[in-house]
């Protein structure tokens, strides 16, 4: 099921020297970001650093004014939401992902219903497929079935539904925009479980977060953006711990630059 045309660790999405302007404001001034197959990349940055512009660029919502986007080594232009989705990148935006008054199965197949020639929904097939996807990402609770209403689920479980929907599209890369913001500890753990299940299936996750501890727990590699530019990046092993990462980000916020010399050389 998982796409296997490139080796784990090889670049799957590359943003090169991305520039994005809104009028006279330059939100991104030459950001280069490489997402590698099979990793969980943590994307960090303060408010206004360009984080959400970068996420929207990944999602294809923004077509960059400068630079280029490569997917599996091939340049994609124009870069639109549809192009991003066709390239296997699925973005789950915070809060706007789901129709809360409807069932899990209806949400998973939103816009991509399985129908017969007359356009009638193939209910059994959709239910089976939804069951399979829910199992795949670790929805183990017996309380839910695909007919459960999304509005009755907890915040973490809703993220799970959004992730399951991304999987249905056979996405190679799943971009999660602040999936744990406003979630309790238990709910955050649920989201982490879903993210690990996605990673275990060989897929790639880009995890955007406010809470550095959350991102630290789940990510393999970190990319920190500041004032429209990449401030620093590094594998988890390059940091001595979450406090090291936080210290560098505080230093960045106070002095405008972080001392990358403290990063350990990755093995």
């Amino acid at each position: 099921m998982a796409p296997a045309d490139i080796a784990p660790g090889a670049p799957i999405v590359e943003l090169r020297n991305i520039v994005k302007r809104f009028g006279s404001v330059e939100a991104l001034s030459g950001v280069s970001l490489t997402v590698r197959k099979g990793e969980v990349l943590g994307l960090l940055g303060d408010n206004g650093a360009g984080k959400s512009t970068l996420v929207k660029t990944l999602a294809g919502v923004h077509d960059p004014d400068g630079g280029e986007v490569l997917v599996k080594g091939r340049r994609v232009s124009p870069w639109t939401p549809l192009a991003a989705r066709n390239a296997g990148i699925e973005t789950v935006f915070q809060d706007r992902a789901l129709a809360p008054q409807h069932s899990i199965v209806t949400n998973i197949f939103m816009g991509r219903e399985i129908t017969n020639a007359l356009g009638l929904i193939r209910v059994r097939k959709q239910t089976d497929e939804a069951n399979r996807l829910m199992r795949e990402i670790g929805f183990t609770s017996k309380v839910f079935n695909p007919d459960s209403t999304v509005g009755h689920l907890s915040g973490g479980e809703r993220q799970g539904v959004a992730i399951a929907r991304a999987l249905y599209n056979n996405a190679d890369v799943i971009v999660l925009d602040e999936p744990t913001t406003a979630l309790s500890l238990t709910e955050t753990q649920k989201v982490f479980r879903f993210v690990r299940a996605v990673k275990d299936s060989g897929r790639t996750v880009v995890f955007i977060g406010h809470n550095i501890y959350h991102v630290w727990d789940i990510a393999d590699r970190f990319f920190v953006i500041d004032r429209g530019r990449m401030a620093f990046e590094g594998d988890k092993a390059a940091f001595t711990g979450a406090d090291h990462l936080i210290g560098m980000m505080q230093q960045l916020a106070e002095t405008g630059r972080a001392d990358t010399a403290t990063l350990r050389k990755s093995a």
Partner: protein, 341 residues
Amino acid sequence: MTTAPAQTAAVDKRGTPGFWRMFYRRNGRALNAFVTFVLVWAFFAANNPTLFLIPAYYNAFLFSVPATIIMTTALVFVIVSGELDLAFPSVIGAAGGLFMTLVISGVPILPAAALTMLGGAALGTAIGVIIVYGKISSLVATLGLNFFIVGIVNLLAQGKNIESRDSVSTFGYAFFTGKWDIFGLQVPNHFLIAVVWTVLCYVLFRYHRFGIRVQMVGDNPDSARQMGIDIDRIRVGVFVWSGLAAALCGVILVQTANMVWFPTSGKAYLLIALAALFVGGTPTWGGVGTIWGAFFGALTVTLIPSGAVGAGFAGFWTDFIFGLVIILTMVAHRFGGARAR
């Protein structure tokens, strides 16, 4: 039954809902509307049991209810998509006029009805396009368009009725208004048409891609757009469906009036159809709705005026009972289906 793993039980105390619980969760609003209808009927019948147990008493009811059923079930799509249609009475009137114009110029009734429905769909498309691509609130736009279309119809008709009493003996007329006698109850064909229409709406709403997408657009338009649903097209689509239903209503209304069309035809249905819709359990906030609820809502609001008189209430009680039923059902629906956010 084997016991659930201890871990699941410890974390999650909510049980797996049973069949009936799931059934109520999925159909609660329609069931509430059905119970409302039965209660209203029982309340009237208790006051005058002999009259309410005579099948023939319901002949007039079955004769007048189909137009409300057809319009209300179609309006479910509009309300669920998050829009509002106040222009459908004018489309009913315009469609009736178009139908009679075709009939008196020699077109047989069935082709004339088909052409009228096409015309209704076209008018619905125009209304939808104005709202969606003009980015106007549908409340304001359809309020204005209702006056505008009624105005044009009045200008064209010069205030005169159109009659074609000769057509009453044709097959097409019998197709719409012929009656089946069942134990003294006369079931007219247009009631059966209304039932078939309701089934069609139900399948379209619940099992067709279009209906599902209407619900998605009403529930969370941002999400629907992100998932690649063309929400503008869906929004125009609900007005096309409403126009189609209004045209069918127009065709039926002139025939139940013995092939006479009045320029004011359809005007009376604005508040009745909307009341039926909300009594039927479709909430105002969009995203969810029920076709069978709308069906029973239409039965309820049609029963109230004649039923109140039949039960021995003086005519001036009608509005009071009407209002009471609407408000009480609204309260009942709150229990049946609070909004899931």
